[in-house]
Amino acid sequence: MNKILAFIGYFFLLLNFILFFKSIAHRGKAYRLFVFYLGLILIVQIWSELLIRQKTNNLFLSHFYFIGQFVILTLFYFNLLKKVDLQRKIVKGASITVLLILGWQYFNNPSLFFEFNLLEIFVTSFVIIIYAVFHFFNLLNEKKEFYYINIGVVMYLFGSTILFLAGNFMISLNPEINQLPWIFNSFLYIVYHVFIFVEWKKSYSKKKLNS
């Protein structure tokens, strides 16, 4: 069950990446960053799938996933929040603080690298949600830009963060039931990519009509 859902998720990821990548040439910086983000998660997913096939521990990839997602989405939102100086300052300050804290944590305890790092999961998701809310706030009286992606980000991060936080703990549980949260996560992941797909459909698929 989980496998099927996961593969549907991968399929959407690949599809979105291709669709967004196709028209990357004439788009702004935020768009490119988002394509970069899709590319990064695609690589992480493929890599982790390969490691599963070889039956090796792929948990260290979660750090690439979370920190990579954090860094790129931070840049993405930093670009979107151009108009409000205060928001940009907050994004800058928060991002640097988060990276410093995580760096310090890994420096003190490198063994964290081979399990889910709860602080990392919490802090990166939480901060991105705040940026997304900033973006929502700015969209209140403006043209909808990256509106559906933003909805997707908020929904997925809100829902999945708690699942990842329970990740280490669930490994110790009975394998019969510890799959349930992961199935749920796969499902959320599909919803997330459906939103990204809707964004492409609504905002970018009719490019030729405009130009």
Binding site: L140, I151, F158, I162
Partner: protein, 263 residues
């Protein structure tokens, strides 16, 4: 770490429900955003259409006034100048008639000179009505002073004019609006307000100039739509808009009016 299977199930359920809870929070956030946005945009549209309507009315007022003004000028030209010049031309033809007596010639010439003189005087008056030369040459202060004198000369009204501001002649384009506003206000006071006393005051306030105008006429109901949308009012408002100023009207029936605007 071994955990009782019943607890295990419970724990997984707790995890799932917490996740679900957060998703519901996210959905509530999105829905809240969606409706707030709708509301805000609706409000903005309403505001803009109000502004557009206001501009339209002002434009309409400007066009109507322009047409009225043209009509008035055409009438003045026709009645005061063309008619006189017509007679001048008739008289000039008369001069061509053979065997005219000397006294006839001198009478005709006298007529012509008289009429041309009157026509000239009328041209001057029309030109003066269009743009007072005093205003043009000596600026707002002199222009307003002359305007007040003209009203005083009509014997119908007493005008009290006081100026505490040094006007720069380079700003004459802007001052013309002020002049026209005062002209309109004074005409209204005399015509509709039946005022006996009018006072005009220019004062310096915070780097800008304030103009206080008041009369003791019959006044009008400030809130009535009819008055608000009158042509004169619209014109005054447009001019204050052009000056980037603010204007306030205060009036009650039989208590005169007070108008304050800045520029």
């Amino acid at each position: 770490m071994k955990i009782n299977p019943a607890y295990e199930k419970e724990l997984v359920l707790i995890i799932l429900y917490s996740s679900l809870f957060f998703i519901v929070v996210a959905i509530v956030l999105v829905v809240f955003f969606y409706y707030s946005r709708k509301k805000i945009i609706q409000k903005e549209v309403e505001k803009r259409s109000l502004v557009i309507q206001h501009q339209r009315e002002q434009l309409r007022a400007v066009i109507i006034t322009q047409e009225d003004e043209r009509k008035r000028i055409a009438q003045d030209l026709h009645d005061d100048i063309s008619s006189k010049l017509n007679i001048v031309s008739l008289n000039s033809y008369l001069l061509n008639t053979p065997n005219l007596l000397d006294n006839e010639i001198s009478e005709i010439t006298k007529n012509i000179i008289d009429l041309v003189g009157k026509a000239l005087e009328n041209t001057r008056r029309i030109a003066h009505d269009l743009l007072p030369p005093v205003f043009d040459q000596f600026g707002l202060d002199a222009g307003v002073e002359e305007l007040c004198l003209e009203f005083i000369c009509s014997k119908a009204v007493q005008v009290n004019y006081k100026n505490e501001v040094e006007f720069d002649k380079a700003d004459n384009d802007r001052h013309l609006h002020v002049f026209r506003i005062l002209q309109e206000l004074m005409n209204n006071s005399l015509r509709h307000g039946k005022a006996k006393n009018i006072s005009v005051l220019f004062e310096n306030i915070n780097g800008g100039v304030n103009c206080r105008y008041s009369d003791d006429g019959v006044g009008f109901d400030v809130n009535s739509k009819e008055n608000k949308n009158g042509l004169g009012m619209k014109n005054i408002e447009s001019r204050v808009d052009l000056l980037n100023g603010m204007i306030t009207f205060e009036s009650e029936l039989n208590k005169g009016i007070q108008v304050v605007f800045n520029f």
